[in-house]
Symmetry: C2
Subunit: 494 residues, 2 copies
């Protein structure tokens, strides 16, 4: 089950433009803006056609009420985006993985007839430290944690401690944790240093933070990290740190056949002309009678509105009446992570023949983490690397040729000269995307959850807030986005 | 030298509306938007008619080039705002003080014929701790620091240490300090706790942080605090912590006759129809030929543009081409402080007769700091109190009557029953002001200066950045705003 190939779109995709989606071509003409007269009234107006917005609209329509989804981009999917590899195959340049306890995105995919397959994970992982490359088994007792002899015991200790602390953080109100103020008064870096880790364990904590949040341990509140750990599971199986960083059995367990964006593409297709593309919302005006949502070309009226997307982006809309001060200030304090997703395409996944899983953990950037991201049948071979946090901020400021040179240098360092000349090179800097402005997720620095946390989900009159950052369960993930849309729909339907 | 009284304006001022300025009435009609045909071309376009924007425009015009200033509000002055007390007297509801080494705002005021007078500072200060009120002299060796016997020695130690550390932070590039990453990896709270202070000294550090930044020690990077300390002085006399918190000889030394907003009012009057009010800038488009700045009604063309204001607000404008990723992400990470300025007006400053200066330092909010803010001749008596950081966030979420009740309860606690029934009550929550969204100043949480600091002032094509948060000297103060405008004008004029 793959999307159609379009060489034109494929070329634009290589340039990393917002239009770069094989999926948009699959949308019915009626869903494209400006072709036919559009409805301009609905019970609930949804801002954003990512997983949160489309899930909200599905739920509203399922109860027999009407919905209109206004999307700024000329495509659906938000932080998920397929890239055509030709021959009917795709690879994702945005969010892509799904794993156990991510029940709601899994159910949505099933409803839409989308299957999953296991992330390629056979053979040895590679650990690069102090200029030395060491193969190791990723299925050991500490999962993906490399076999640094000094580090493993220290990591087991600190991860266990974090998991125990995380359980005391209420998912619906992290600011009510018994130690909330203490934990929100320090960065994750400060906590890490207080545990007297050796350099190896400390590096691996840095790497895990970068891999999960696309930021550095100094950027983020300890309380937020603990909330996020707890959030990485469902009611029956609360989250733990290892699940966040693991492939088999973890958040990187499986992938969607046809690419994760296909979920949004099919959900949008089912909603038909209710989904309007290229309609960035500029203004939301509410009064006692209802709410009017203005794009550059439309004024859409409704009873309620659901605003999705990264919290910082929701602050770019003009609200009348003005947002409450607490929410307006929250939006100055909820930054998005910094991630560049880089994929090199080779005729075959040559590393498999060398007994390698394609997964690297490295102390040297800009790419410190890699995966085998080849399509289900293993052709072509796709090496996926992430530049995250500090590395992404530095790399993103360099010219394109230099970015490519530095990225491929990493692939060669880990997989040898065969990696030097890929047939294709795909790069997506989510910090530069105007309708996202940073991946994977918004996080909070110290002091924010305790003083501003209540404003994350509190409805403002007829306005309800959704998006992965508002979810109690799998906050920041595709599953959290789906759940947030469902919750906001329930709220909006009152 | 005071502005005109207008009972209508005065009433609106009591409601805390943006239009609440005695000063706007004094602007020539030509400076009001929409009255006469407006120029729509200038060498340099300035966004914002606060001290930064007006200083930039003055400098541009002084070199014989043309300037247009576009202001979102229906008044000039930005974070300075006069409030009429009637009888030709005013009191400020925004930034107001000036002190030694703040040379540029002092020079600007002199050029505009505006005099200063000393902040009322005679008699005893009051220290409220553990339910007990203690008078003390504010002119002792530690300035305004209350005479808590255990705390004084500890404070002398930690403030000395901070001053020494601050000197190593380069004002033009704090991220180049020898210990930049270490200091930017922790909150000021973490640093404070590492010094093993007793409860008294710890409370006073909290209070000083709230008084200077309107945030909590947990909100702010140690590196930013050190930069700010160093910044509180000129080249000949670099800053120190005591200067930030002192009245006589410090940042609260003096006030402007006629109110601080009079500086902007007179500067705008001199610029005449170059200043256009009620013109919120929505879009800035630049190409090889020039730049076009769009408001709801105008398209103004120029060679360069200077954008002033709190960094977070500059992110609400749409830029074509898009902002570089590093600046776009910086703007998600540069929050404004949280401050509510509350003033109670009495027939006379009755506390003076009791030998009190009107200055309080308290461990109990919402108002923990007060000043005598009466006009130069001492009539009427004005008690000024600040709710800052956490207190402002909580107080700002309460209904108006409850806010007033809690504020007056503080005044009564410190000054007795005579404070219970003021003739006037004035309140300004700067977090709720859509064109400011928080005072006194933008600050950076951990991790921001080191990874994003270079984007604070870096021009983007034809766009130059000004505002108090961009100044190397007296960052965050009126003086810093003036200096930032002068620097941006030099840049824009090339």
């Amino acid at each position: 089950m793959t999307t159609k190939t379009d060489p034109q779109i494929s070329r634009r995709a290589l340039l990393g433009t917002a239009a770069a989606t094989a999926g948009a071509a699959a949308l019915p003409a009626a869903a494209q803006a400006g072709r036919t007269p559009q409805p301009t009234r609905a019970d609930v107006i949804v801002v954003g056609a990512g997983l949160a917005g489309l899930s909200a609209a599905r739920q509203i329509v399922a109860t027999g009420r009407s919905a209109i989804v206004l999307e700024a981009r000329d495509r659906v999917g938000g932080r998920t985006l397929n890239h055509s590899l030709g021959h009917g195959k795709v690879v994702e340049v945005g969010g892509q993985w799904v794993g156990p306890t991510q029940d709601e995105v899994a159910r949505l995919a099933r409803e839409l007839g989308i299957r999953t397959f296991k992330t390629y994970d056979r053979g040895n992982y590679l650990f690069y430290e102090n200029g030395k490359l060491t193969p190791y088994s990723g299925s050991g007792p500490l999962g993906p944690i490399p076999p640094d002899p000094t580090a493993v015991a220290q990591l087991a200790q600190i991860l266990g401690e974090l998991d125990t602390m995380a359980k005391t953080v209420p998912l619906a109100a992290p600011w009510k944790a018994p130690n909330a103020y203490d934990w929100d008064s320090q960065t994750f870096e400060t906590f890490k240093r207080s545990r007297g880790l050796g350099r190896g364990a400390s590096n691996l904590i840095d790497l895990a933070t970068e891999a999960v949040f696309a930021c550095e341990p100094r950027d983020i509140s300890l309380l937020h990290v603990l909330f996020y750990i707890h959030s990485a599971g469902n009611r029956r199986s609360p989250g733990n740190f290892e699940r966040l960083i693991s492939t088999g059995g973890g958040a990187q367990d499986s992938r969607f056949v046809g690419g994760s964006q296909l979920i949004s593409i099919r959900a949008a297709r089912a909603l038909g002309r209710r989904v309007m593309l290229s309609q960035p919302v500029r203004r939301i005006v509410q009064d006692r009678r209802g709410v009017t949502v203005y794009t550059d070309r439309l004024a859409v009226k409704g009873e309620a509105v659901i605003v999705t997307g990264p919290p910082a982006l929701t602050g770019l809309i003009r609200y009348e009446p003005e947002l409450p001060a607490l929410r307006a200030q929250l939006l100055q304090r909820f930054p998005q992570g910094s991630a560049i997703k880089i994929e090199a395409v080779y005729p075959r996944p040559f590393w498999r023949a060398h007994g390698l899983a394609g997964q690297v953990t490295s102390d040297t950037g800009p790419i410190k983490i890699t995966f085998d991201n080849s399509p289900p049948d293993g052709t072509p071979g796709v090496l996926l690397g992430f530049a995250e946090g500090h590395d992404a901020r530095v790399l993103g400021s360099l010219p394109a040729a230099e970015r490519r040179r530095r990225a491929l240098e990493c692939f060669v360092r880990y997989f040898g000269r065969q990696a030097a000349r890929p047939a294709g090179y795909i790069e997506m800097n989510w910090s530069a995307e105007p309708w996202t402005r940073g991946c994977y997720v918004g996080y909070t620095p110290p002091g924010v959850l305790t003083d501003f946390g209540t404003a994350i989900r509190a409805p403002f009159g007829r306005i309800h807030w959704a998006g992965a950052e508002t979810s109690e369960i799998w906050n920041g993930y595709m599953d959290g986005a789906v759940r947030s849309g469902q919750r906001a729909a329930r709220e909006a339907l009152g």
